[in-house]
């Protein structure tokens, strides 16, 4: 084990508070169990046996927004669903992140019409866009890893400014 070698016989680890907080946040980031359309099926595939997203600390899908950190917008967002989506986002406790999964959530996809928001960033702030129609489970996992990278780079100064 690498960490034991680094520890030696001292029994202590020195690190920064930011690193610890970000490490904890990335390794227990609970997504909300919230599927909209086709992408939700691929999101389920990513959770199931073959792709197994729990390898990245993502196995617990929470059905309640109040218990989740990450919203995966999996599918097209219609004009009727938009306000509901916003309310769900508002109900999530801070810190929270959003993945726009698939082309419809990212930019409207093939549905350039009256019924669909041309990108879910019109409704909620998005951190990571995942391309594909629908994206393969690997692509979703890559999106999740990307958001982990983003979280690992956050600093306390940024938190303070965000919630000022």
């Amino acid at each position: 084990m690498g960490i034991e070698q680094k520890l030696g016989n001292m029994g202590v680890v020195t690190t920064t508070l930011e690193n610890t907080v970000n490490w904890a946040r990335t390794n227990a980031m609970w997504p909300m169990l919230f599927g909209l359309a086709c992408c939700a099926i691929e999101m389920m595939s990513a959770q199931a046996a073959n792709y197994d997203m729990s390898r990245f600390g993502m196995e617990i899908m929470r059905a309640s927004p109040r218990q989740s950190d990450l919203m995966i917008v999996a599918g097209r967002v219609s004009k009727k669903m938009g306000p509901v989506l916003r309310r769900l986002y508002d109900q999530m406790p801070e810190p929270k992140w959003v993945i726009a999964m698939g082309d419809c959530a990212s930019c409207g996809g093939v549905f350039n019409n009256y019924a669909i928001y041309q990108g879910v960033d019109e409704v909620v702030p998005v951190d990571v866009f995942v391309a594909g129609c629908p994206p393969r489970p690997e692509a979703l996992i890559h999106g999740v890893m990307t958001i982990h990278e983003k979280v690992k780079g956050e600093t306390i100064k940024q938190y303070a400014e965000k919630y000022k």
Partner: protein, 409 residues
């Protein structure tokens, strides 16, 4: 962004009983974000304690405007939209759409393409039933069903990826045939799948069919009377579980289904358990069809050679002037369909999936309407959940197997 509308009870007074107005019964929203509604369905429930008095489905949260969008696209390009209708059954949607176009412009499909369409739609039926079995197992707290079913589903998706390059939204069937011929390893991969899948269905059945917990949660629940089912236009497994032997593959055969030997599983109980049994049996029947179709897969072209509607192969374009012209015309302008209206229907995993199409002499359809099975099957829900508990409502809803993309379009 529009705000959530505050609705007073006056607006839906006629839908709930009088006791709801006095506060004797409780009105409760289930959805649009709920793990057991299988999508974004909102059910407005009137509850007396834990018993459902009234259930009012509110749909439209996934309204996509697919039918309208198709009017702005040529016949070839509009097909891409059909994949996203019923996203558990993209190939079935392609098939219904292609059949409608073929009927409209009077286009023949080669026998090899017909057999390929049968094989792939039956595999799609299995994969759709697997998602249903996995998620409804999850609703009834049988978590392992989800893992097992998705394991087998991945194998089917690998087959789709092999033939078309995409896992879900394949658009593999095209008017006049299929996109391209299958790769050589196709037959081996499908046979491997058939070999293991028989045993896997047995495995699912040992987990659920005689499991006392599962029986308690499903038997005698959500009884659907055949007369009620017929009056609501219910089709597919819910209808067959109520004792009506109606399957379009037998009743109005298409794509050469009449040459395959298979049974239509029916039950007479009409409850949640009967629907489960019918679907599991249907998976076995689908395996039979795939095996037969694979055994006598004819050789020959996979696309019609009517160059007015089907683009020529790439090899012809370099050597034939006509081929180049046809290619150019088909991919810029598209083909024109006569002024007529047609209806083509298939038996999708959920029931009768029909496409009504109206041509107006131009390369774009004047109107495309989908008769989607989930929409009609959901209509019967308020009638079969009356008197059930909220926990049973989840089981009944999942047993109808709705897909919201299919309902809202």
């Amino acid at each position: 962004m529009t705000q959530i509308e505050q609705v007073s009870i006056e607006k839906f007074k006629h839908l709930v009983s009088e006791r709801a107005l006095t506060g004797e019964t409780m009105l409760l929203n289930m959805g649009p974000q709920h793990p057991s509604t299988h999508g974004v369905l909102r059910l407005l429930l009137e509850l007396d304690g834990e018993t459902v008095v009234n259930c009012i489905p509110d749909i439209g949260f996934l309204h996509t405007g697919i039918e309208k969008n198709m009017e702005a696209k040529t016949y070839q390009k509009a097909e891409v939209m059909t994949d996203r209708l019923d996203y558990m059954n993209p190939l079935g949607n392609n098939l219904a759409y292609c059949m409608a176009v073929e009927k409209l412009v009077d286009l023949d499909v080669p026998v090899r393409a017909q057999a390929l369409r049968v094989i792939l739609t039956e595999l799609q039926r299995i994969s759709s039933h697997l998602v249903w079995l996995g998620t409804s197992g999850l609703d009834l707290a049988a978590m392992s069903m989800f893992m097992y079913c998705f394991r087998e589903r991945e194998q089917i998706l690998d087959i789709f990826e092999l033939v078309s390059g995409q896992r879900m939204m394949t658009t593999y069937f095209r008017p006049g045939g299929v996109w391209r011929d299958i790769p050589v390893e196709f037959e081996k991969v499908v046979r491997d799948f058939l070999k293991i899948f028989h045993k896997r269905v047995d495995e699912y059945e040992t987990l659920l069919t005689k499991n006392p917990l599962f029986l308690d949660r499903t038997m005698t629940l959500g009884k659907l009377d055949p007369a009620l089912a017929l009056s609501f236009g219910v089709t597919g497994p819910p209808l067959r579980a109520s004792g009506v032997n109606w399957d379009l593959r037998k009743a109005r055969p298409y794509m050469g289904y009449e040459q395959y030997d298979f049974d239509v599983p029916t039950r007479t109980e009409g409850d949640v358990y009967a629907r489960y049994l019918v679907r599991v049996q249907e998976m076995r029947e689908s395996l039979k069809i795939v095996e037969q179709a694979l055994n006598k897969l004819p050789l020959g072209p996979v696309r019609s050679d009517n160059r007015k509607f089907v683009p020529p192969p790439r090899s012809e374009i370099g050597v034939s002037m006509e081929a180049l012209i046809h290619h150019f015309k088909l991919w810029t302008e598209g083909f024109s369909a006569p002024k007529a209206s047609v209806y083509a229907a298939i038996e999708s995993p959920r029931g009768e999936l029909g496409v009504y199409m109206e041509g107006d002499g131009s390369p774009k359809p004047h109107r495309v309407h989908m008769r989607t099975p989930s929409f009609d099957n959901l209509g019967v829900l308020p009638h079969i959940v009356k008197g059930a508990l909220v926990a049973d409502l989840v089981a009944i809803l999942s047993s109808i197997d709705i897909v919201l993309g299919d309902i809202d379009r």
